[in-house]
């Protein structure tokens, strides 16, 4: 018998515009402790809504969502958000706060003493591989896209959450930065024993990073499982999504020489 899931969606539904737009339509999904789950889908598939339901940035219309065994509707949403890390698309950093101010914001909200926050900020900058002396006091606009996203990850981890939610965290980065950053995050996930839910529209990224993949379309959960399990799904859309990375890989294999000198 596996342990109880850390995040459990049960028959969850959400509509916008007084019912005219169905964003999430009867989704049930479990995320086990220590798991790295990727939610894949096109725009309008409901993947972002599903993610935000977990920390109550959006409230569900029906169904239940349990986080660490507790029904989120019975938890203070502010306190809930402070114990779940959240990485925004292209950082979402506060432009008027320094790197240290951004990273330390959640501990500050939790009332952590300043000296402790300061030490924690240094620790986190090391963790996301940013030179503390160089970046600590910079403002977000003085950073590159990759550096900003590293700060975003550090901020999400600041209050030592067990769960990290990521909204297309690497989407806006150039391929090399993206590769380095996703490898680094995968390592952090393992080292810190996190439970991570990441949204992406890129199946290749999902396959390379995640333990399990959930495929969304039109608000419904079409399929979920390891890449291998998904490839056995009979769904045409899922099949289409999986064919693309394979085709790309085959073409790349044919076009690129085996060894590339460094």
């Amino acid at each position: 018998m596996p342990a109880a899931p850390l995040i459990a969606y049960k028959n969850v539904a959400k509509t916008f515009d007084s019912g005219r737009v169905v964003a999430v339509d009867g989704v049930s999904l479990d995320v086990a402790e220590g798991e790295f789950l990727a939610i894949v889908g096109g725009s309008g598939s409901g993947k972002t809504t599903l993610l935000r339901l977990a920390n109550r940035l959006i409230e569900a219309d029906s169904g239940t969502i349990a986080v660490e065994g507790e029904d989120v509707s019975s938890v203070d949403p502010i306190l809930l958000r402070r114990r779940i890390g959240y990485v925004f698309q292209s950082g979402g950093l506060f432009p008027h706060l320094t790197v240290a101010g951004n990273v330390g914001i959640t501990p500050k909200l939790l009332g952590t003493p300043p000296t402790e926050i300061s030490a924690r900020v240094d620790e986190l900058l090391d963790l996301v591989r940013l030179d503390r002396s160089q970046y600590r006091d910079r403002l977000p606009h003085e950073l590159s896209g990759g550096q900003r996203q590293r700060v975003g990850v550090a901020r999400a981890l600041a209050a030592k959450p067990r769960i990290v939610l990521m909204d297309e965290p690497f989407g806006a980065l150039d391929p090399l930065t993206r590769d380095a950053l996703s490898d680094d995050f995968r390592e952090l996930h393992r080292k810190l024993g996190l439970t991570t839910v990441m949204i992406t529209h890129d199946m290749t990224e999902a396959i390379l990073l995640a333990d399990r993949i959930a495929v969304m379309r039109g608000g419904r959960l079409l399929a979920q499982g390891t890449p291998k399990e998904l490839s056995e799904s009979g769904d045409a859309y899922v099949g289409e999504l999986l064919r693309t990375p394979r085709r790309q890989a085959e073409r790349l294999g044919a076009l690129l020489p085996r060894e590339i000198s460094a």
Binding site: Y86, F88, G92, L93, H96, T106
Partner: protein, 519 residues
């Protein structure tokens, strides 16, 4: 004489602590009140489109009301409220000067603050708002640590605009009894003292710039998280306030306040009264440039202690009488009417300052015009100019009725400019004042009013209710009663309106006293 060595600069400088102090006090209070109301309103309204529209609409309407009118409207409004408060709670308050000025100016400051605060808060990116929610901020924490700091530059731009507007518009609070840098401008315009006008404008401009720059310093300090700059800006503002409050606080309070309306003769007479009281060891200050009905209500409410009015003005304006009475009868009746409001009619000064139709002597002789009746037949080809109130006053109605007057055109002018206008032929006839020195200066003639359409306008001294039994005051003023004849007053007025260095109202009051005491 050299323009810069003009002694009027020194005189203007002497008034600076008083005028500037009052100006800063009323401006800063109004701005603080405006911010106190506008900022929370803007924050409440930012997510409520209906309220936001209503607030901005209302503030825009207020902004379209000319500053002088807005200030003037607050006086009767507060007067009515004060009366209401007196009858309901047993305590009234002064509707004169500071309070109406602060309220009107605060209202005036609201639009830029409301608009910029709302715009600034709405300009915060939705992604940033989501992030503040996502990291676990309460709406309040998000407002104070994210939204307001990000909206600050736009908000401060609004606050700076409001500050400059308030400081500029505060110069218009002089006619409702609030001493301000506008005293220079109003007095200067009336007595053709361009040094005063210039000085007042410069002082107001320098003050506005200084406050604007101090606010800019605070803004840059807040934006760059520089405690030093924020503190320097704050200290600057505080120092400005303190520096202007100190002389006002040191100056003895509780002295006598002598009121003056907005024309030369009133400036001279109020200076004369103040000098007489000072000579009798009764400390006195003047409150100049007051509107005609403001000054009467201020006296009735004990906000000023003494001033000179004219029998016909009170008869027609304050008591709404349209019947024309012989001089003695009118004075006697007026005394009774005033007594009902506990105002003492101390006595007449000895001259009359009536409205009169005035034209160049030479032209009148050419046309054979000596009286208003002679003028009537020529009137349809002529134009007439009067001060801002004349054409809406009962005298004008009475004149037209009595003589069947009908002019080709009529214009309103600043009183001191009318005489030059009629002398140069810009207009044919003006409604001037019989005691005005400019009649002699420009060789004009006042046409006789055989049918007595214009009521008598004896200059009379009025005392506030609380001064009714003040014998020292009565004794100090007694030497002025019945001693100033029309020729002397005209000469004093002419001297005071001269555009030269020695023609200040105070100097002319001295001259007048020398003439009067010899009688």
């Amino acid at each position: 004489m050299n323009f810069l060595s003009d002694p009027r600069w020194a005189e203007a400088l002497g008034h600076l602590p008083d005028y500037l102090g009052n100006h800063v006090r009323v401006s800063i209070t109004a701005l603080a009140l405006g911010l106190l109301v506008s900022l929370p309103l803007a924050i409440i309204a930012r997510h409520r489109p209906v309220l936001r529209g209503a607030l901005l609409g209302l503030a825009s309407i207020v902004q379209t009301v000319p500053g002088l009118a807005l200030l003037a409207l607050f006086y009767p409004l507060l007067l009515a409220l004060a009366a209401l408060s007196l009858s309901w709670f047993g305590t009234g308050f002064s509707a004169f000067g500071f309070l109406p000025a602060v309220l009107a100016l605060a209202l005036y400051s609201m639009l830029p603050v409301l608009r910029n605060t709302i715009t600034g808060l709405q300009g915060v990116e939705p992604a940033i708002l989501e992030a503040s929610q996502g990291v676990g901020m309460t709406p309040r924490q998000s407002l104070f640590s994210v939204e307001l700091p990000l909206a600050l530059p736009v908000m401060m731009a609004g606050i700076r605009t409001a500050a400059v507007w308030v400081i500029g518009t505060a110069t218009l609070s002089t006619p409702i009894g609030q001493t301000s840098l506008g005293n220079y401008i109003f007095a200067g315009l009336q007595t053709q003292n361009w040094v005063f006008v210039l000085f007042g404008c410069l002082a107001a401009a320098v003050l506005a710039l200084a406050v604007d720059q101090l606010l800019a310093l605070i803004e840059s300090g807040l934006r760059h998280r520089s405690r030093l700059r924020t503190a320097l800006g704050g200290i600057g503002i505080a120092a400005l306030v303190a520096a202007t409050l100190v002389p006002a606080a040191i100056r003895a309070q509780g002295g006598y306040i002598v009121g003056a309306k907005t024309f030369t003769e009133q400036y001279v007479l109020s200076a004369l009264i103040a000098q007489r009281l000072d000579a009798a060891s009764l400390p006195a200050t003047t409150r100049e440039g007051l509107g005609s009905s403001v000054i009467f209500e201020a006296l009735a409410a004990n906000d000023i202690d003494v001033y000179v009015d004219y029998s016909g003005t009170l008869w027609a304006n304050q008591f709404q009488r349209t019947d024309i009475r012989p001089r003695e009868v009118l004075l006697a009746e007026l005394k009774t009417l005033l007594a009902k409001r506990n105002i003492t009619l101390l006595g007449e000064l000895g001259f009359e300052n009536a409205y009169a139709l005035v034209m160049p002597r030479r032209r009148a002789e050419q046309l054979g015009i000596r009286s208003i009746a002679d003028l009537a037949s020529r009137a349809p080809t002529m134009s007439i100019a009067g001060d801002y109130e004349f054409f809406s006053r009962p005298e004008w109605t009475a004149l037209r009725k009595a003589y069947g007057l009908s002019f080709r055109g009529q214009r309103q002018m600043q009183p001191d400019f009318m005489y030059a206008a009629v002398a140069s032929g810009e207009v044919d006839v003006i409604a001037g004042y019989t005691s005005d020195g400019l009649i002699a200066k420009y060789d004009l003639v006042a046409l006789t009013d055989n049918r007595r359409a214009i009521p008598p306008y004896d200059a009379i001294m009025l005392l506030a209710p609380k001064r009714a039994d003040d014998d020292r005051l009565r004794k100090a003023l007694a030497p002025l009663l019945g001693r100033i004849d029309i020729a002397t007053m005209r000469e004093a007025n002419l001297r005071a309106s001269g555009n030269d260095a020695t023609s200040s109202p105070a100097a002319e009051a001295q001259w007048l006293w020398e003439k009067v005491r010899k009688k």
